[in-house]
């Protein structure tokens, strides 16, 4: 990676980055705004009750200490995926500084002054708005600033629950092992954080009454000047608020339109497929497609589908059966498909498409060096030589009952070392000789790039992983025109085609959407 390639990648994606940047601003502002709406009244309320204050601030402290990814994972089953859990998560983080600073700001006012305020006959509300809030304003604004800068950071995590924003690029880059993409998400996010800090610190200075500054810093202004400044501050706030409120309103207006939501898991193939479905639908119908891409794994996507947060996503029979439906592991391709389709239809109201054509099975692959040294050709060879081999595989492979645990119990396989590695990092590890064997996928682009030796499954160990599309039946009922349209992809993508598309994205660095469009165009589907 050089600066040059980063720059090229930036130019390629600048439109997308700008859009994600705006979405990021949008999410952050919305979250901070909600935190203000909750945090300020809460902060004010607890000034009247010390034990309550200790409890509330303590709780906010605890929330703050939960890792954001864990909090997100915890929230998704309750409130689904997309912007909602993302905003809620950011709000939970943004609350603490706002509550704390409101509380501190109010309680640090000299009680004598409050007595004076009461004494001159101010009502409770007048006291709050004319004395307490203006005096607490510097604290409050500092809290907002901490919250907002933090929110910009936390929103990047939101990509893992399907919300967009700059985290989307980071997550894409991590999945695709593309440091350029990570940087294209991370750099604008950092710039945004600095920008937010700058804007809010200016606003903070602006709304802090001159009289609260140290005497040598006070600028005396006439009434007209003060009014003008107040106007500018109000305008600035209005602009800051217009973005999220406006987009929320636009979203609400849009709700009358025909729309469906396509979801995907967080790996290249799923995302390419997502774009294929999205483009296919948008080009052939008047239905608007919303993206909920990059969801953190199949179970999350499935729960989103069941909740109606998304209307469809692609998966594999070998995952849908054992993982989503809890079926025993089978190796009979047809039986697995039939069981999945039947249970999905009967028990979950989900329509399963005919297989899309390609399979994305586990193919245990060895580095050419290891294959040569130990004569690895089949899974049986692997079992025999495992004690000499270092196995670098996804953590999912080490955890799933039908993967490594089953290998160990069934064949007594025992590797010299097992390293849990995510995504494409496995290929780097095997390429650089740090591990000898990995759990590759049949359509994986990197197997082509790093020239791994696939080991034939002569033991019939792995279940079939036929690609299928899962769609909510009620969505198909609402938009019956989708049924024949979606059917055109059934059996329409070969394993080679899929591997090729993955390669274009992961290795050649093409935009997944462009790859999807090119595929559909080539097939005459759009």
């Amino acid at each position: 990676m050089t600066l040059n390639t980063l720059w090229t990648a930036f130019l390629d994606r600048r439109g997308e980055i700008w859009e994600l940047f705006l979405q990021h601003v949008d999410l952050s502002t919305m979250a901070v705004l909600l935190s203000l709406l909750i945090g300020v009244p809460l902060g004010l309320l607890i000034t009247k009750n010390r034990p309550a204050a200790a409890a509330v601030i303590g709780l906010a402290n605890v929330l703050q200490s939960i890792p954001s990814l864990a909090l997100l994972a915890f929230l998704v089953p309750f409130i689904g995926i997309g912007e909602k859990p993302a905003i809620l998560m950011v709000v939970l983080y943004a609350l603490l500084p706002i509550i704390k600073n409101t509380y501190t700001g109010i309680t640090s006012i000299d009680p004598k002054l409050l007595e004076a305020a009461d004494g001159i006959g101010l009502t409770r509300l007048q006291r709050l708005f004319r004395v307490e809030l203006p005096m607490a304003m510097p604290f409050l604004m500092a809290g907002v600033r901490i919250s907002a800068v933090g929110a910009v950071g936390t929103v990047t995590i939101a990509a893992f629950a399907g919300a967009k924003g700059l985290g989307w690029l980071i997550s894409l880059g991590l999945n695709g092992n593309d440091p350029n993409l990570v940087l294209l998400g991370a750099i604008p996010a950092s710039i945004l954080a600095l920008l937010v800090d700058l804007v809010l610190s200016t606003l903070e200075k602006g709304v802090t009454a001159e009289g609260l500054k140290s005497p040598e810093k006070i600028v005396l202004r006439s009434r007209a000047q003060k009014r003008r400044r107040a106007l500018v501050a109000a305008a600035l706030c209005t602009v800051l608020l217009t973005v999220p409120v406006g987009s929320a309103a636009a979203g609400a207006l849009d709700a009358s339109q025909k729309r469906i939501t396509v979801g995907t898991s967080n790996f290249t193939e799923a995302i390419v497929l997502g774009y294929i479905y999205e483009t296919l639908i948008e080009e052939n119908t008047d239905i608007q497609v919303e993206e909920r891409f990059n969801l953190n794994g199949s179970p999350l996507s499935f729960s989103a589908l069941e909740r109606g947060d998304i209307d469809m996503f692609t998966d594999y029979t070998g995952i849908a059966g054992p993982i989503l439906l809890g079926l025993p592991t089978e190796t009979d391709t047809q039986k697995v498909y039939d069981d999945v389709a039947r249970l999905m239809r009967d028990e979950h109201g989900v329509a399963v498409s005919a297989p899309l054509g390609f399979s994305n099975e586990y193919v245990i692959s060895a580095s050419p060096e290891a294959a040569a040294s130990y004569g690895l050709d089949t899974l049986s060879d692997l079992v025999d030589n495992a004690q000499f081999l270092r196995f670098g595989c996804t953590t999912a492979f080490t955890q799933r009952e039908d993967c490594l645990p089953k290998m160990e119990s069934q064949f007594g396989i025992h590797f010299k070392e097992v390293v849990g590695l995510e995504g494409n990092i496995r290929y780097q590890a095997i390429d650089s000789g740090e591990v000898d064997v990995t759990d590759a996928y049949s359509t994986d682009a990197m197997t082509v790039k790093v020239k791994l030796i696939p080991l034939t499954d002569d033991l019939g160990f792995f279940p079939p992983y036929q690609a299928i599309n899962l769609a909510r039946q009620d969505t198909l009922d609402r938009y019956p025109e989708l049924v024949p349209l979606l059917a055109r992809l059934e059996g329409g993508i070969t394993t080679e085609e899929m591997a090729r598309m993955n390669y274009e994205v992961d290795v050649e660095g093409k935009n997944p959407k462009d790859v999807a469009v090119a595929f559909l165009t080539g097939k005459g589907l759009i």
Binding site: K112, L113, E115, A116, A117, G121, L122, T123, A209
Partner: protein
């Protein structure tokens, strides 16, 4: 007029006010004074209900404060606390306007009224109205605090140790300003202080509180002159009266039984009287009434001792009435005056006399401590 009727209040288990009854006349400045914890501030706050009374009632011009709407009650009462209680985020002008706005003074009139208020407390409006409290000295802040209390033109003003945080010089200046303001506006003012000098200087009446009870409520003069009990006496201090010459009357310090002689006597007899008493003058009386003074200096030049005194009776003297204050005597007598100052009743009867040395001795008493008094008897 404020009437406290059997006002009681306690905090938790501690009874702070034990049935206080007190009447403050309209236009009067009453100082509430006592040791800390005596309940003086607590009593003050029962009026504007910052700390409402548990029992008893406070009537403002006949209306019980407990029946008045809180905000309206407070808007009708000026309130000054220590250090002014100005809002730091507002300018001097905005601090005043906050009260004016609340008192429904139309926006157009507020600026002018604020300027007027600043002038009232001897601050130049153009110089101070734009400043923030942190840019003012303590005395200036308190002046604005006082101005704010007067802003809505309330009938009653409560002051809670307003000047106690100021240095003595500034305090004296502010006391002068307040005294002038009160004379000028005729506001009823209830003033909490722990400073006896301040109370004597400002108040028309002083109310002594001890452990939540009124122990003495009287004019400063009477409080100084006759403290109700040891507590008040201790508070007043032995020498306090002597520091306040306006409360000391001629009769308090005059020497009785002046050397006197009647008109018909001779020069020799007059000289004998003077010689006997060791004085340089003798007062001529008839039936108790003063007729004049015979000065030793006039007689010494004259050698005919048997001559009648008639020709030597001088009208060149200063006399004072028995209730003339020491202050006034000092202010009016000539510094060059020497000799006797007769003290008369309003009917012209001779009661006693003063001399310059008696005046000096009296004035020096305020600086005396018991130690200096005992030293006097030693060999210096």
């Amino acid at each position: 007029m404020i009437e406290f009727q059997n006002v009681a209040k306690s905090y938790k288990s501690k009874t702070v006010l034990k049935g206080v009854s007190l009447t403050v006349q309209t236009g009067e400045l009453v100082a509430l004074i006592g040791a800390s914890g005596c309940g003086k501030t607590t009593l003050l706050k029962t009026v504007n209900r910052l700390g409402p009374a548990d029992s008893g009632e406070i009537l403002l011009d006949g209306r019980p404060v407990s029946q008045l709407p809180l905000a309206a009650l407070r808007r009708g009462i000026g309130y000054v606390v220590q250090d002014g209680g100005l809002f730091p985020h507002l300018t001097v002008e905005e601090n005043l306007e906050l009260v004016l706005k609340n008192a429904k003074v139309p926006a157009a009139g507020r600026t002018a009224r604020a300027a007027e208020l600043l002038q009232m407390v001897e601050l130049q409006p153009d110089e101070y109205r734009m400043l923030y409290p942190c840019q003012l000295s303590g005395g200036q802040r308190q002046r604005v605090g006082v101005a704010r209390a007067f802003a809505a033109d309330p009938a009653l003003i409560l002051m809670d140790e307003p000047f106690s945080a100021l240095d003595p010089l500034t305090r004296a200046e502010l006391q002068d300003t307040l005294a002038a303001l009160q004379r000028h506006t005729g506001k009823t003012i209830l003033f909490v202080t722990h400073d006896m000098d301040e109370a004597v200087k400002l108040a028309q009446r002083i109310c002594f509180l001890e452990n939540g009870r009124v122990v003495q409520y009287d004019t400063p003069e009477n409080v100084l002159r006759s403290p109700a009990d040891g507590y008040v006496a201790d508070f007043v201090g032995k020498n306090r009266l002597w520091g306040n010459p306006e409360f000391i009357k001629a009769r308090d310090i005059m020497k009785k039984n002046p050397s006197r002689i009647s008109r018909g006597r001779s020069v020799l007899q007059a000289l004998q009287v003077m010689n006997h008493s060791g004085v340089d003058s003798v007062l001529v009386t008839r039936a108790g009434q003063l007729e004049g003074v015979v000065w030793l200096a006039d007689l010494q030049k004259f050698k005919d001792y048997r001559a009648p005194l008639d020709n030597f009776i001088s009208q060149d003297y200063v006399s004072v009435y028995e209730d003339t204050s020491l202050q006034k005597i000092i202010d009016t007598i000539d510094y060059n005056i020497s000799g006797v100052i007769p003290v008369l009743s309003h009917k012209g009867e001779l009661l006693g006399y003063l001399t310059k040395s008696i005046l000096l001795a009296t004035l020096s008493k305020q600086y005396e401590t018991p130690e200096t008094q005992s030293e006097r008897s030693g060999v210096i």
